[in-house]
Symmetry: C2
Subunit: 250 residues, 2 copies
């Protein structure tokens, strides 16, 4: 079985509806490719007790906890302090990160607020930030990244090779103009025949007026997925519709 | 204080990265307008134990639990059965919904798979679905909606007037080309002066190359928010930048 993971999206701006999340899908796809199974996402507000408790619960339940958001220089950037508290270690200046930020920003700009970005929980390993230098960090099984998408993506790309992954999650998809209620019986029979696969059915209703269902088979065994794909195609044909191949992944 | 809420997005397709979430922001904005505070979102897979446990935990912790996904006719649509289990009641045919679906679909199309969509936990109140008739439902403090955005939105609009809301969440936003590290000190002073407000700082890096920060004040007291907006504007000006008004809400 692949390692399991939970993603914590920390930030009031998603919960108030002001901001459309732009990170979940990137991280979900990246973990699937790395063979790490994303089992849960939680969006929580930037309040100390909620962050500390959620990190504590989730890191006991999953092999990895990834977080985004709350590591900038402002008063609402409390993720590093909360993770330190959850891990029971002090938050302290990380010398190497401090010097790198000071060099990058220049001494005049490197004010007290920005110095906070060089504070990491004791024992944390910085995650490099090729965009704006202020690092993320890993400590134990918790991996803390920025919320700004470009910075998060740079950190994620630097982080993933340091984690032990597995075979990537594979999937095949077939679209058709059938309805779910027509496909349901055959799909259930297929699921019963292949219990280790995750077979899903996703209705679509496109802007151009086309309606139908996408059937998806997912799993970590590439040959089994290819075989399930053939069976899905045959099921759609047996119901008198034309199967249209969807994007396979990876 | 407003009523609190948690949203459960049920579905493997978000966790695998195949699908971009299209429901969180709509529901978050709608709840903010209705004066219900969205305190957490969880995305979980469509597995029975995970759904039952998460519904049980979250409905004890929040005033309302909203769910999306997993109420169609296929084998992976298990939300209604899981909510029934979490509430300790049987899942049974809801006569009125059964007849409505039979009339809408016609007897021939209304096969065994589609009949599952008329199964509700005993004592549930259907949430009307003006798009495709198969209902959502409310039982106790759990509100179960479809995952297909157009259907979810129709259900949400029907549901919200049945819930007790409060004053809407208000916000003001000011953009500027300042950096967070420059604003941090003044913003913290402002937060300390207005502890009941939620003051947030959101860096942006737009496709056209413009970089800067959006400062947002949020809360349920419209006058206090307007006043905080003026102070944010003054803070930006005092740092030598030009404040640009963001979209207020509602």
């Amino acid at each position: 079985m692949p390692a399991t993971a939970c993603l914590l999206v920390i930030g009031n701006e998603i919960l108030s509806g002001r901001t459309q999340d732009a990170n979940i899908r990137f991280i979900a796809s990246g973990l699937a490719e790395a063979g790490i199974a994303l089992e849960e996402v939680r969006v929580i507000p930037d309040r100390t007790r909620r962050i500390v408790e959620t990190v504590t619960t989730c890191r006991a339940q999953f092999d990895h906890v990834f977080t985004t958001g709350g590591i900038g220089p402002t008063h609402d950037d409390i993720t590093a302090a909360c993770v330190a508290e959850a891990l029971g270690v002090p938050l302290e200046i990380h010398e190497e990160s401090y010097r790198a930020l000071e060099t990058y920003l220049g001494r005049e700009k490197f004010n007290k607020a920005r110095q906070r970005m060089a504070m990491l929980p004791r024992g944390a390993r910085p995650i490099p930030n090729s965009v704006s230098i202020a690092p993320g960090f890993s400590i134990a099984n918790v991996h803390v990244m920025a919320g700004v998408p470009a910075i998060m993506q740079a950190m994620f790309r630097a982080l993933i090779p340091t984690l032990e992954g597995g075979a990537p999650l594979c999937s095949v998809a077939w679209h058709s103009d059938l309805r779910e209620g027509t496909l349901a019986e055959g799909l259930e029979a297929l699921q019963n025949a292949c219990p280790s696969l995750d077979l899903g059915s996703y209705p679509f209703d496109r802007a151009d007026g086309r309606k139908g269902v996408t059937l998806v088979a997912k799993g970590y065994d590439r040959d089994a997925i290819a075989e399930a794909g053939e069976k899905i195609r045959a099921l759609i044909e047996s119901l008198g519709a034309v199967p249209v191949a969807g994007e396979p992944s990876p």
